[in-house]
């Protein structure tokens, strides 16, 4: 659907185009698939969720008179006997960016209807996500081992643990859901659900289309995007 040309519609660039699109009939986002529009709006809503989490964290951290633990020490990891600050976090960041890259390429090949490449790249993304979740599990267990709990921690302000587990947990849940869907969609690509006019999904009357990979991609990139903020505000502050 998304590649459909709109008959008799004059595209205009920039803000003029926006006014023109808004004033036109039928669709406001010209040529944007329903599912994709939905994902965008959902992500906007989800942005507000994460913003509220991060704002609460900022407010909580700014108003505590107790020392806030220094993340670069708390999250240091011993590499060959030397504590390297934020090593694991850095690795996680790189893994997530890698998976974001593979996802972007998967979307590209999806549009080229390149079933093989698309499928493998989606699978690679899923693996990246899985590794990320695994590393996060490791990080959590390490901190729990060191005595960090949602309600207390040995390094300083109790809210540190609370916000840490809550925010990374919420993000991790997003990643995990994403991984599950990535596996499902990898299967769907390989099984050819998007070829020959598309197969109907099991929960919808709509026919499959490679645009679904783009929609999934949006979600995945969003998960990466959130991590950018968590990385900056939680680990670097």
């Amino acid at each position: 659907m998304s590649e459909q040309k709109i008959v008799d519609y004059e595209y205009k660039p920039g803000f003029k185009g926006m006014a023109h699109d808004t004033g036109s009939d039928q669709t406001m986002f010209k040529g944007v698939h329903w599912g994709k529009a939905m994902m965008w709006i959902f992500l906007l809503s989800d942005t507000f969720v994460f913003s509220c989490f991060l704002i609460s964290y900022m407010k909580g951290r700014a108003s505590t008179p107790v020392e806030w633990p220094n993340p670069s020490e708390v999250f240091a990891l011993d590499a060959f006997g030397v504590p390297v600050p934020l090593l694991l976090i850095a690795l996680m960041t790189f893994v997530l960016i890698t998976s974001s890259g593979t996802m972007a390429l998967a979307v590209k090949y999806g549009y080229e209807k390149n079933k093989k490449m698309c499928g493998w790249l989606v699978l690679a993304t899923a693996l990246g996500g899985l590794i990320f979740v695994g590393m996060q599990a490791y990080e959590w267990s390490k901190l729990i081992h060191e005595g960090v709990r949602p309600w207390e921690n040995p390094f300083g302000a109790a809210q540190f643990g609370s916000f840490f587990f809550m925010i990374t947990g919420f993000h991790g849940t997003h990643v995990s859901i994403g991984v599950i869907f990535l596996f499902i969609y990898a299967y769907k690509v390989f099984a050819g659900h998007y070829e020959n006019g598309g197969k109907r999904g099991w929960f919808t009357t709509m026919r499959g289309d490679y645009v679904e990979i783009e929609i999934l991609g949006l979600y995945w990139h969003f998960v990466d995007l959130v991590w950018v903020f968590i990385f900056a505000f939680f680990y670097l502050w």
């Binding site: 185009g17 926006m18 903020f229 900056a232 670097l236």
Partner: protein
């Protein structure tokens, strides 16, 4: 004209080069923000660097990986304007956090004497 036309074309594929470029940039920027911590920059410098790299990365992901750069302005605006509410919330909560901290320090630690 060519430029805009290209931008308007929905869902068309882009050259692989652009993705690789962005991908690379993301790695580099992440590395830089990691270096901010590594070298333990402090104060304003640290903050401006962190925020700079953060927004750059976020922008790149949104613009290219999420194709926002190629979307029509109607969508872009619908997505970005609500952020002003969040911005307002952030600013006010930062002020509120400061105020709470002040109140706690003053009445529970420092006292009327200082």
């Amino acid at each position: 004209m060519e430029e805009t036309k290209k931008k308007e074309q929905q869902g068309s594929t882009h050259k692989i080069g652009i993705y690789l470029w962005i991908w690379g940039l993301l790695f580099v920027l992440s590395f830089f923000s990691y270096m901010v911590d590594w070298y333990q920059f402090q104060g304003m410098l640290r903050w401006s660097l962190i925020l700079f790299f953060m927004f750059l990365k976020a922008g790149l992901i949104m613009a290219f990986f999420m194709h926002l750069f190629w979307e029509r302005y109607a969508l872009v605006n619908v997505l970005l304007w609500p952020m002003t509410a969040i911005a307002c919330f952030i600013v006010l909560m930062a002020a509120e956090g400061q105020y709470t901290l002040f109140s706690r320090l003053f009445y529970f630690f420092v006292g009327g004497g200082q």
